[in-house]
Chain length 353, copies 2
Amino acid sequence: MPETARRADRPGDHRPGNRYGNRPTMKDVAARAGVGLKTVSRVVNGEPGVTPDTERRVQEAIEALGFRRNDSARVLRKGRTASIGLVLEDLADPFYGPLSRAVEEVARAHGALLINGSSAEDPDREQELALALCARRVDGLVIIPAGDDHRYLEPEIRAGVATVFVDRPAGRIDADVVLSDNFGGARDGVAHLIAHGHRRIGFIGDMPRIHTAAERLRGYRAAMEDAGTAVADGWMSLGGTDPERVRRAAEEMLSGPDAVTAVFTGNNRVTVTVIRVLAALSRPVALVGFDDLELADLLQPGVTVVAQDAAALGRTAAERLFRQLDGTLLAPERIELPTRLVERGSGEIPPSG
Amino acid sequence: MPETARRADRPGDHRPGNRYGNRPTMKDVAARAGVGLKTVSRVVNGEPGVTPDTERRVQEAIEALGFRRNDSARVLRKGRTASIGLVLEDLADPFYGPLSRAVEEVARAHGALLINGSSAEDPDREQELALALCARRVDGLVIIPAGDDHRYLEPEIRAGVATVFVDRPAGRIDADVVLSDNFGGARDGVAHLIAHGHRRIGFIGDMPRIHTAAERLRGYRAAMEDAGTAVADGWMSLGGTDPERVRRAAEEMLSGPDAVTAVFTGNNRVTVTVIRVLAALSRPVALVGFDDLELADLLQPGVTVVAQDAAALGRTAAERLFRQLDGTLLAPERIELPTRLVERGSGEIPPSG
DNA sequence: CTGAAAGCGCTTACAG
DNA sequence: CTGAAAGCGCTTACAG
């Protein structure tokens, strides 16, 4: 049995904690096949210049020993790791699933693996993660920023780490960034409500320090201003996306003499909670939400949304990253992807009262 | 300016494609600080036995050069990479988001990074990915299998790669596996429909070669048998989860003289399509689905589901992986996590007709 | 067609 | 407290 033979070949096998569980190396393969190290390297890498007979002997040794090339050593010598890092907010958020998958597909097409981690919306954790990835010498970094100061990446970028920011722009450094048209999308969504007769429209969004939240609020304001509609202070609420906070905000702007007849929600998590609040209400209130939701079309009424294409964001960013690595890229650029208004019913409800 | 100084220090800087973009190494730091290599290593790793003054000089050199330790070299020497791999079916599937995140959190607690990839339900791609991760010398592997033969991992496991299978068992090798109680969950879900008066109940599931699909079908059969109810052939449909296939299957079992009065769906993707089919129907049909869905409670009626805890699956698997790496683990084990029936309305509809 | 030597950037084991 | 030498498992550049 080859396994037994292999164990017997390696007397040190039973030490605990031995490196890589005592894997065979090219040196072991070379010894067993009776050839030089370089010849093994040639066979393993499919390089030309090995006689069929030699190749066969090497292959046999590889199989008998269960050899698998240590890419981590290879990488040290070659300089590129064929891996990229993705720092996002939360892998569990449905918005980031398609984005990650798209980045992964592009990486795969370029023969690279994807290391990813969640910042949990914490700038320190984002930095920690990004720098840990740099220490592993990923070739590039796709970052959905949690913080707003990325000067900590300057030495890394200068050292050659390709970097693209997605969903939110980089802070205080000049870098490639791929965004959705958050301002335009929100403005269109709110204009849609206005077109359906609403004037008292509320906005509930994420924390204002988050770029997307600020941009969407700006879009809301612009649409209201375009329509010549004054905005009451109580109609705008920015803060955490936890259900309690959002619920309170919604209930507040839905009551009193200035109560809104329509709500624009700033992201998927806010939308979900507001749908729950509206479902418990006796009167119909219009709703348009930023971000699409699975099953949104099956609710009564269907949820009208401003959809962004998460997969396209990821794909675009990753492709740009690899163009940086190819050296075919010039100055940093800001790419903005369009959003799409999807009418499903909730946004077409006329004002009540 | 330190940057300029650094560039000037390194005459080869302008070659294209130079390794790691010509990053400074410990050797560079040592030279600049006028100390030995080992002293730099001590400072970088916070080892004791360096005078404050020496330490300061080294730190200054580190900052001036923008040095960051190359963990990829470190790893080669130390033998452990502090990274684990996760092979799943599709990062974009909402079921795997929380699972990935849970694995990531456990990895993080152990100081490890997560490399993950999607098999796209293709056994060859699963193998390719898993072996690529082994070549990178990940310390361990969490695998949601697409294939049913994992003997290809035997040499890797023997070489010390910790391995845990999740969601579906390993094929033809003895390994740790963490599963949901697919059989029991499906049986309970179908029994729930039976308790509400149904006898003609359909089952629509994923491809039968997928373990979870087979187990859930088994649960369906068991519940029907427990109730002494014969199952017509037309009531069971297994196959791809693409909407067209599922729609056809649903429409078929919902028509004709033997038409079912209730449907049990085998996973989240099937459930979503069946909800759409039922919504277009004039008569009420009961539905219980395996896997929970966001917004399921907001539909009319709410969707009754057999929920599994994706995060718990991931967490349990990752914890077991690190126990293997600690060496505190004995024989491979099969862990089964309970499911939970969540009543929301669709599963409590009485039979019609 | 084949292989010995040097080196990637670190850590280990040892000596001063 | 400090550092020179050897080595992790590969690839590169070169010589035969």
